[in-house]
Amino acid sequence: MQREIVVVSGWRSPLGKAGGLFAGMTAVDLGVAVLRETLARSVVNAGQIDTVIIGNVIQPTDAANIARVIALLGGVPQHVPAHTVHRNCASGMQAITDAAEKILSGRAEVVLAGGVESMTHAPLLFHDRFREALAGLQKARDVSSKAKALLAVANAPWKPRIALLEGLSDPTVKLNMGQTAEVLAREFSLSREEQDAYSLQSHQRADAAWNRGDFDDEVLHLFPPPGFSAVHRDEGIRAGQSMVALGNLKPVFERPLGTVTAGNSSQITDGAAMLILTHREKAEAEGWPILGYIHDWAYSGCDPARMGLGPVFCSHKLLKAKGLEMHQMERVEINEAFAAQVLSCLKAMDSKDFAARHFGEKKPMGAPDMERLNVQGGAIALGHPVGMSGARLILTLFNQLKHDSGGGLGLATLCVGGGQGGATLVGSQPWKQ
């Protein structure tokens, strides 16, 4: 019989704005802190872990294979291997589904998987011609060639390239992520007001969820240096957010007529999340508590210029494979990369035309009800530490199903830069045919 994948424990850090509360912590520091806390709060012993898989996008140059660095510093024994995965915004989800695949294939029993990102520490890079000129200077031997090389360095473009911006651009279609959102906003004729209203709702829902204590079993207290004051609440949530304030913001990606602003886009943030996965028999044999089940997952590709529609394609693929309908989902998390992008997905899911064109089906797959979608707010309010968000969505679904909806199925899905989508089907109960 096929193994059933379960999650026995999972925690995430609060999300801090780039250059904000966690500015003094690198991606390694964040990962180590959350990994240690997760282990400390779990009945699973570090020595029982078979492998560690961590998703990370802006991989620090001073911590190659960051998963291994985090595992060793976090107290995972040396004999446990670790590797890092990268599928852009879905890296955190990739780590979890890879872990699940390892367990399914019998190559691992217990896997620690998660995502980590410090967008604060995205580096500044030198232009390649500048690097070349510096290399030339090192090779120069005599005075005249040294002078020439020095001149070449002086003439080379010295302005640093910002890795964060370059990472958020698609080299194949020459668009940055915000521009792909503008494409969707135009094509699905989404107004600025619609986008802003959705963003306001995200802030209000996140604020309310925190006030209710929904995040208490999900988010850790961290004590970031240099002040070591405790941080628990996500930094980006604006309790007093208003349509007026949102309306005052200028479009960022297409001036002056665009509709995507800093206020209706996800926030650039730092954070980490870690989950411990195993299969049901193992968990039951060891007497470990079960947070929830991971039933299935799917990734799919789409037009890179419309990467925001990724969730439509992968959700369709996943639901179809399992013979499920969208309305059977008790909770849905669509990562809020941009308000325009989430709203486009909803429109596409409801569109007959879209269904006919892309899936060859007469009936649209149907969009999730707004009362079941991102009920505790999303990346617009909380933030989107790219390599970590995928893990966060799955973790928050488990907690919502457990504490909020009284069980059921959940779908976590996100769009991926480069034209992909990832979706994971989770549930509070074992799979019933």
């Binding site: 180590v32 806390e37 400390a40 709060r41 207290h221 004590f223 240099p226 070591f228 405790a230």
Partner: protein, 698 residues
């Protein structure tokens, strides 16, 4: 028995020092004699290369024998000992062939001076490879030519620092400061020897750097060194307390201008003078006291079990708790628990300031607000509020969650461990582990057995403390244990001196000044401010209820606490405090004790009835004798195992001046009749076991 072997290999000779009779190589009579004999042989048929190495793992030569120095009673004898060492070193230096010292393991004092006499030093990469000239710590300075050769090898600035601080240098640092000529891994030693040998005999120019030859530059340099070295000792009469410090600077500054022969003679003569000072004998005694604590039977027996502990928790992130977490993080992963996130943030900030020295250790400490991770802990130390209910409710919760052999340790300073044991299951695993403030700095740890504490637990705790670099002393579970019980009569006596009738109305600053001049790290009033007046009062009430009035504090002290004058933490006590720095006297003090401010009003003619201030020595005896009486009572009641442990506890726990050798030792030199008279003078009871002091003379 042969301790120095001479091995011949073709053109190479190896001088291998290997003691079969000792745990480490030391330069004592036996070893020096054999080195001299072997050098005779070498000088007769010089090889092409001489290698000096150790046959003992983890140790090159740990220095001269401390006991030999301690035994010297005559300055001339000490000088001759130094001259003998010096001539040995010069013979090695003058050999026609190159010589290489292979330093693997500790290389201290005379050992480093021997290495310095070689042409080259090869440092072997290992955590145990440490080099130092620690003589200053026992009140002398290097005497086998180190004062001459070290500056020549690494420069004056670094040499003065090494000699005056006595600090240890590891292989990497030694390479960076050119103390060693090559650092290599164990497997590459032979390659390293050949590599250095190819450089041939080293020729020192014998010349000082240009600036050393300009007397103003030289004078300024040594004046700066002197100021820096004496800064910590500014309250003391340095020539009496630590004569080695000024003497070392004198030697170094003279050596800089002298020819080699004269320089060595100067070094030897100065060493001779220092070796017979009481400071030297007392510092050696204190060194032995510390060693005895770290190597006591309980530590040896508990070492194995303590070594298995790799994860622990500390409750309470105050100054004490976070300090303990820092100490424990030397050996184990530590969860630092507190219910308040503010307290945790403060504790972590404090630790971060320590972590400047050791960033890796900070990573071993995990702050926790929710008591998470207890299941993985093999040891729990509590440093929460000093109230039995608070502690008991913590223990009840903790003892249910940890495994049955997890050590439960209380850092209580006054509560009974036996009583605490009633609240927990398996009380055998519970003991007291009392640190002293500031925990990262003070070396003493009182280890307290409650009624049900097992021997195994006690031994593990002692070994654990020792493995963290602390000195454990086993004490009985009586109120105040040992140190605080002896400290309180001392504090009470100091406070009593302020009263006009009894103490002659001494001023706060006069009393604190006299105690500091005696060598106490701080005065009694400053100490009260640092500890917190409310805590002092709490402890005094507790102790006086048990032991009587010698432990009680005056009424005006309670009034101060009542008015919120709590010392450093409230910004004012006896002194004013700002950002952890001591300011002037607190003016409000005069409303509690009129005479306390007398120093300020000296010029005021209206206060003419005041007595003249007591002599400093009288102030010291007035404070210390009550402490001595209480200490003798503790010995009588077997609170502590031995007089040596008691002396060690006072030095390492409250900073009793180490150059005085310990509390009992300090008074042991006095005539019994004088002491009895003195006790009577200060209206103290005559202890029945006063003759214990006689045994402490050594």
């Amino acid at each position: 028995m042969e301790t120095v072997k001479l091995l011949r290999e073709d053109s190479l000779m190896r001088l291998r020092v290997e003691r079969a009779d000792r745990p480490v190589n030391v330069l004592d009579e036996v070893c020096l004699g054999e080195l001299e004999r072997q050098l005779d042989v070498i000088e007769e048929t010089p090889p092409q290369l001489l290698v000096i190495e150790s046959g003992m793992p983890g140790c090159f030569i740990a220095g001269a024998d401390v006991d030999v120095i301690a035994a010297v009673s005559d300055a001339g004898e000490a000088t001759r000992l130094a001259e003998r060492g010096q001539s040995l070193m010069r013979r090695i230096e003058d050999l026609p062939c190159p010589s290489i010292a292979v330093v693997a393991g500790s290389c201290m004092g005379g050992g480093l001076e021997l290495a310095l006499a070689c042409d080259y030093i090869l440092g072997v990469q290992s955590a145990k490879t440490l080099m130092a000239l620690p003589e200053i710590k026992i009140g002398i300075h290097p005497g086998f030519g180190g004062c001459v050769r070290l500056p020549r090898k690494i420069g004056w600035l670094k040499a003065c620092d090494m000699i005056l601080s006595g600090r240890s240098i590891n292989a990497e640092q030694a390479k960076r400061m050119h103390l060693v000529d090559l650092v290599c891994y164990r497997e590459k030693i032979e390659d390293g020897i050949l590599y250095l040998a190819r450089r041939g005999k080293r020729r020192f120019s014998g010349m000082q750097p240009w600036w050393m030859r300009l007397w103003p530059a030289r004078a300024i340099f040594f004046a700066v060194m002197r100021n820096k070295a004496l800064q910590r000792l500014k309250h003391l009469d340095v020539e009496e307390a630590y004569p080695a410090v000024p003497a070392t600077i004198r030697v170094l500054s003279k050596v800089a201008g002298l020819a080699e022969g004269q320089a060595y003679a100067m070094e030897a003569a100065s060493l001779g003078r220092l070796a017979v000072t009481p400071t030297c004998a007392n510092l050696i005694r204190v060194f032995h006291l510390g060693q005895a604590l770290q190597k006591q039977e309980a530590v040896k027996k508990g070492r194995e079990r303590a070594g298995q502990i790799d994860c622990g928790a500390v409750f309470g992130a105050g100054v004490m708790g976070s300090g303990i977490a820092w100490v424990a993080a030397k050996g184990v992963q530590v969860d630092l628990h507190d219910v308040s996130d503010k307290a945790l943030a403060r504790g972590l900030t404090l630790l971060a300031s320590l972590a400047g020295r050791d960033a890796g250790r900070m990573a071993h400490i995990r702050p926790a607000l929710d008591k998470s991770g207890l299941e993985h802990c093999q040891m729990v130390i509590e440093a929460v509020l000093e109230e039995m209910e608070v502690k008991n409710s913590l223990w009840q919760e903790v003892s249910g969650r940890v495994s049955r052999d997890t050590l439960l340790l209380s850092n209580t300073s006054s509560l009974s461990i036996t009583e605490m044991q009633r609240a927990v299951k398996y009380p055998g695993r519970m003991a007291g582990m009392h640190f002293f403030n500031p925990a990262p700095k003070m070396p003493l740890v009182e280890v307290i057995a409650g009624e049900k504490t097992t021997q195994k637990t006690l031994q593990t705790v002692a070994a654990l403390a020792a493995s963290w670099g602390k000195y454990p002393v086993l004490v009985a579970d009586r109120p105040g244990f040992l140190v605080n019980r002896c400290l309180m009569p001392y504090m009470a006596a100091a406070f009593a001196l302020l009263r006009p009738q009894q103490g002659g109305g001494q001023s706060v600053e006069h009393v604190d000044g006299a105690l500091k001049q005696f060598g106490m790290p701080m005065g009694a009033f400053e100490l009260a401010d640092r500890v917190g007046l409310d805590i002092c009062r709490h402890v005094a009430e507790h102790l006086s209820a048990e032991f009587g009035s010698q432990q009680a504090l005056p009424d005006w002290f309670a009034a101060m606490v009542g008015d919120g004058l709590l010392g450093e933490k409230s910004g004012s006590g006896f002194f004013l405090w700002k950002d952890g720095k001591q300011g002037g006297l607190n003016q409000a003090l005069s409303s509690y004790i009129p005479t306390a401010m007398r120093a300020e009003k000296e010029g005021d003619a209206s206060i003419s009835d005041a007595l003249p201030p007591m002599a400093a020595m009288d102030v010291v005896d007035a404070c210390l004798l009550p402490m001595l009486v209480e200490a003798l009572a503790c010995l009588q009641e077997e609170i502590v195992q031995s007089a040596e442990h008691l002396d060690a506890a006072m030095v390492f726990g409250i900073g009793f001046p180490p150059f005085r050798g310990g509390l009992l030792h300090h008074y042991s030199g006095q005539d019994a009749a004088w002491l009895q008279g003195r006790l009577k003078q200060f209206e103290l009871s005559q202890p029945a076991n006063l003759d214990v002091l006689k045994g402490e003379g050594a």
